[in-house]
Amino acid sequence: MTVEHAGRGRRAARGRRPWVLLAAVVGAYAFLYAPILWLALLSFNDSRSVSTFTGFSLRWYAELLTDGQVLDALWLTVRLAASTAVVAAVLGTLAAWALRRPFRGRGLWSTVLAMPLVVPEVVLGVSLLAFCVKLAGIPLGFGALLAAHVTFSLSFVVIVVRARLAGLDPRLEEAAADLGAGPLTRWRTVTLPVLWPAIGAGAAFAFVLSFDDVVTSSYLSGVGGTPLPVLVYGQASRRGVSPEIVALSTSMVVLSTVLLVLAVLVVARRARHLDR
């Protein structure tokens, strides 16, 4: 990020932009990234104190790797995020497809699909908890968590896939039909391949949303397992910010960033092939 600042500064100077603009850019980036950078620096601090820097060390990371509770939580979180991504991608793609052509009540359906975007997460968590426990009798844990995560990430997949569908030349499917492909073959050989980048992007979104979720998950995790974000939150609120928590948080930031960047790269590569 520091490199980024320097680069921007040089470019701004060469372009003779007013210093106000440069300051605004630096300020905005600092506002966004300084706390995270500070956190990352702290995680390599040898001291247990989070206010004084005594030397470089990887000991807190080593401790994480031996902490069974953390490893269990990580494993649960990854499984949950991956499952959420797959289920949300499949359901979201089907929903986007169904909403492609106008029909009675289409507006209502798309509004309902977008609702989780505007419903506060706390409300969503409470209502899902009430639903699982009181109404449906679904045991808390992985199943309930998966259902909840799919609920709020589905909207993202639908939005991304619908945008791609809207840009899809309807002649492509007609051309496939014209060349002898029945409805299923058309879907498999033309529609799906053209939609892949959007589905991939939607799935990546769903993964990261699930991976980072605290609020809904804290309502629905059962006795057996706690997702990583919930664990971090719980420990931080009970014992304050410890170096282990700092290292864990840094790992999570790095992991989500890497995953998202990878997904974006792969999707962009595929999309470049498809778009003229």
């Binding site: 007609e174 014209d178 002898g180 033309v190």
Partner: protein, 437 residues
């Protein structure tokens, strides 16, 4: 799927075959959208092996017609026959036709080779045969060696050629082309026009070609149908339609890029002389007289208003020092208004003396002399032409409409019984002249 083994495409011009059932036949086809009628009671026959164009301004229903033949839309009424079999209700993927789309509609995720192979895979061809066929058709469109490329790596013209190869590779009974050149620039369009003619000759497949470009239709087609507001206005060879338009609409709509549309002169019947095929009608236009052959079966009263069309390159100009047109020719006194030098020809715009409301006439003269040597001057004072160049237009209400439909006008000859191009023009409207050139 009829497997037509055209292993060796005939390189000579295949004479369209009129003996069997027509390749495509539309009988009383109507298609209504919620707010308008796109195609109304339309009948048409396209012979086997013909290059047949459907020409019309936008909104005339030509694309709807094509989409109904392809199977993307179903008519509300009427029958669509492919090789004598009614295909209404048969889904697109089971029809023996293939389409070339205006937007190319190449599959962006597949290579050029796989695009061409797409339709063949659906036929379940053996591997070797599939490979050979894709190669043949890439050769046909002169894109051998481009198989591994993606569509987005090709130019517009190349993409359209891939689309043509992809559609033809299935060897359909009829190839449907929906304004395939409209998205290309003028130079490429001219190039692909030549290509299309060659390809159609080589494969001999029936081409049903939709366009709004008059010159394209004239250059490419064996026969063409002029569409107006969902109805067939005229069917005939390019020469028929150009030289013997049946209506004012066709006379003005069919235009070549150099000379534009027909001049349409309005006047009143003065005399009718002779009888039968030799009958001549004299029409007063301004201070002049226009002579036209009277089609058999058409009766005219003295004083009746009529419209006569004449092509700009058929009329001649006379200056005050000339002798004027020979006796027996049309003779219209004019006043020069404007002259445009266009290189090979000069376009003269002249006003009809005695008819101030009339549209000025356009007359083309070949520049066979050098500029500045246009002879002793004074400018044109007379326009004259032979009676056989006059086209007496069918009675039509209103005057000078460009495309608005005067509702409910009867068009009797939508169906055309003779799908053989090059033969005598079918008596459409009322003319029966065979010699048009």
């Amino acid at each position: 799927m009829s497997e037509d083994p055209r292993e060796t495409p005939a390189l000579d011009h295949r004479v369209p075959d009129a003996s069997g059932p027509p390749a495509v036949e539309l009988r009383g086809v109507t298609r209504t959208y919620t707010d308008q009628v796109a195609v109304r009671d339309l009948s048409l026959r396209v012979g086997e092996g013909e290059f047949f164009s459907v020409l019309g301004p936008s909104g005339s229903g030509k694309t709807t017609l094509l989409r109904m033949v392809a199977g993307f839309e179903d008519p509300d009424g009427g029958a669509i026959l492919l090789g004598g079999r009614d295909v209404v209700g048969v889904p697109a993927h089971r029809r023996d036709v293939n389409t070339v789309f205006q937007s190319y509609a190449l599959f962006p995720h597949l290579s050029v080779w796989d695009n061409v192979a797409y339709g063949l895979r659906r036929l379940g061809l053996r591997r070797a045969e599939l490979r050979a066929r894709v190669g043949d058709y890439l050769d046909l469109v002169q894109l051998a060696g481009y198989g591994r490329r993606r569509p987005h790596q090709l130019s517009g013209g190349q993409q359209q050629r891939v689309a043509i190869a992809r559609a033809l590779a299935r060897r359909p009974r009829v190839l449907l082309l929906d304004e395939p050149l409209a998205a290309l620039d003028a130079q490429l369009r001219a190039q692909l026009r030549v290509e299309l003619t060659r390809i159609q000759r080589e494969v001999g497949t029936t081409f049903l070609y939709v366009t709004h470009d008059q010159e394209e239709a004239l250059v490419l087609s064996h026969r063409l149908a002029v569409l107006r507001a969902g109805r067939v206005e005229q069917v005939g060879t390019p020469a028929d339609v150009y030289e013997r338009p049946v209506s004012r609409f066709v006379a003005e709509f069919i235009r070549s890029s150099t000379t534009g549309g027909s001049n349409v002169l309005e006047g009143t019947v003065r005399t009718v002389t002779g009888a039968g095929n030799a009958a001549l009608v004299e029409v007063s236009v301004g201070e002049g007289a226009v002579l036209a052959e009277l089609p058999p079966g058409r009766a005219l009263r003295r004083g009746q208003p009529v419209a006569v069309a004449v092509r700009p390159e058929k009329a001649r100009l006379y200056s005050a020092e000339d002798d004027g047109p020979p006796p027996g020719w049309s003779r219209v006194p004019v006043r020069p208004r404007d002259t445009v030098y266009t290189g090979a020809a000069t376009e003269h715009l002249v006003e009809v003396v005695g008819d101030p409301g009339a549209t000025p006439l356009t007359v083309f003269t070949q520049n066979t002399r050098r500029a500045g040597e246009t002879g002793p001057g004074g400018g044109p004072v007379l326009v004259g032409w032979e009676p056989r160049f006059s086209v007496l237009l069918a009675d039509e209400p209103g005057r000078g409409d460009g495309g608005a439909e005067p509702g409910g006008r009867a068009r009797p000859t939508a169906a055309d019984g003779d799908p053989t191009p090059g033969s005598a023009p079918t008596p459409v409207g009322a003319t029966s002249r065979a010699d048009v050139s």
